[in-house]
Symmetry: C2
Subunit: 347 residues, 2 copies
């Protein structure tokens, strides 16, 4: 703060060369001849002055910011909001660092205007955006995409070609239901993670249906209830299922948080898990290990989603045409006690 920071001009003066030479040396520009002595003099001078190039100037002239941004929509889903953020962030930043990029984190609060992130792109804060939780009614998103601005969605926007990374919800649900089927269950209920307006909710329901039909069972709407992100919604949905003339012997709950509510409802009802009713959840949030009984669930690869989104975005930025721009990542079945399997090893 006291003395001004050194510029490349200061380095040039100290080394007795031109500013151009300093730039050429410090950036290791290939195919340019600089004598070893001069090169060393420049490096010494830079070190002595503790010189760091000013990134703003560099960005201005190069047109590249070497920064990507994560735009994080805070929706109503607290699980998504809190449980996945650390893994996703770590994945994105790891990818960013690997390619020499920085990460700008930009949450969009419910009271923010939806297109608050546009400024990041238009003002050249960043070379590209990862948009988490895109809304299909967002016009600025498609506008940016049409203008050729590098964009990757975390989530999906059906009917568009916008590059995206998401979990394979359909296959995840199939894994869960298939597991219950393999344990002998034939009357399997489902509680969705959210209302069907949410894509992930539709997809997980679809997987449930596919798994049943592949096993020769008919889909019965009466066995399906709708959750709404939180525990309480799971409790209520489960009570409805328990009220049926013939309740299911197993339930697939497409969200761990909702599943925890369902679990509570079953226990409060005087039934046992998994002996009377088996449960499989979805997400593998941290708490799933700690409820009683520990929850069998479908793990979502948060780190992998982050890494993949980051890498895909950077490859788009650098014009390195990736073959697949819409990626679905596999889930993993984590067997714990709530499903009644002999024991899978999911620690």
């Amino acid at each position: 703060m006291n003395r001004p920071r050194p510029t490349s001009r200061d380095v040039a003066r100290l080394a007795g060369v031109s500013r151009t030479t300093v730039s050429l040396v410090l950036n290791n520009v290939p195919d340019v001849k600089i004598s070893p002595e001069t090169r060393q003099r420049v490096l010494d001078a830079a070190r002595r002055l503790n010189y760091y190039p000013d990134v703003s100037a560099r960005r201005l002239v190069s047109g590249k910011t070497h920064t990507i941004a994560l735009v994080w929509h805070r929706g109503p889903d607290a699980t998504y909001r809190d449980a996945f953020l650390p893994g996703l962030l770590q994945g994105i930043t790891r990818a960013a660092r690997h390619y020499g990029y920085h990460l700008l984190f930009r949450p969009i609060d419910p009271d923010d205007p939806d297109e608050a992130y546009v400024e990041l792109a238009r003002g050249r804060h960043t070379d590209g955006l990862v948009l988490s939780g895109p809304r299909s009614d967002d016009p600025s998103l498609l506008e940016l995409y049409r203008d050729g601005f590098p964009l990757v969605l975390h989530g999906q926007l059906p009917g568009t070609e916008v590059p995206s990374v998401d979990v394979d919800n359909v296959r995840g649900a199939i894994q869960a239901v298939h597991h219950l089927l393999s344990l002998g269950h034939r009357r399997i209920g489902m509680i969705t993670n959210a209302p069907l307006a949410y894509i992930s909710s539709r997809q997980r329901l679809d997987g449930y249906r596919q798994a049943l039909e592949a096993a020769g069972l008919t889909y019965d709407p009466e066995l399906v209830q709708f959750g709404n992100f939180d525990e309480e919604s799971g409790r209520k949905a489960m009570l409805s299922l328990l009220d049926l003339p013939t309740p299911p012997t197993a339930v697939f709950v497409a969200s761990d948080m909702v599943a925890i509510g369902a679990l509570r409802a079953i226990l409060d009802h005087g039934l046992r898990v998994p002996e009377d009713i088996a449960i499989v959840g979805f997400d593998d949030i941290a708490a799933a290990r700690f409820v009683s009984p520990p929850l069998t669930t479908i793990r979502v690869p948060a780190f992998g989603l982050g890494w993949t989104a980051g890498e895909l975005l950077i490859r788009i930025i650098e014009q390195d045409q990736p073959e697949h721009t819409q990626v679905l990542l596999e889930t993993e079945l984590i067997v714990r006690r709530s499903c009644g399997a002999k024991e899978g090893g999911g620690k």
Copy 2:
């Protein structure tokens, strides 16, 4: 990508004025006379061209980046790493947005050089840094501080004047132990969250001691065991306490994750919680609500820490001398079932 983005020169041309006028209008520079018609012409032109100023150029000339960075050291503490990040990040970004700043997120992995963040400051990526989990043997930190670079620590560096924000670990521990005392316990053990090399660990132990002494009890080293961040360390530590000739009737475990391990040890030993041994944890991680019995604990205000650190940093950046530059935030006792209190209401 196709056509080049518009510059202020384009706006000036379209509005039929000089570039200077455009700048004056768009930045609402006070005490400068622009006729209303001209002003409107400029605004219209900017809107028609969808003009956004280039931040790199703006930063270069102004010398301000309007960006702060969060440097996140990934230590061995998984709880700290994952459970607090969402709240802390939300707090910092909220503060940043409130003052018109952006946030750069920079994790430092164990394999990164410790001073990898210095480039952020020296290269003018950011106007200031929040350093989470500072190490006292970090020379570049003190160097930056001496050079007057705006810095706020999340955590503490005893013996320095570097501005910092942290939880009041001593008082938090006192709250926990005081609660157990008020329930009638006289033989209270402790398991630390980590080895005593960690400041938070020493402070929580200190609080335990102070609370005992304030109640007229003598500190007994045989009742103190040392945890090491994870469940397993808590299990082992608890087994040692159970092996004592006279085990304690209550335990203060200075980390929820460690406490969950201790809880398991007690139950595995055939004892009941809280009837035989009461437990109070520390941190209030998400899982604390879901274990059986639900864990009474000390809540750490993650959002508040983030907000306070962000606001303090920005006030330092903007030369708005804050009166207190070393802040300790209060914790909150969350009563659940593991302590045996009648019921506090901690949901």
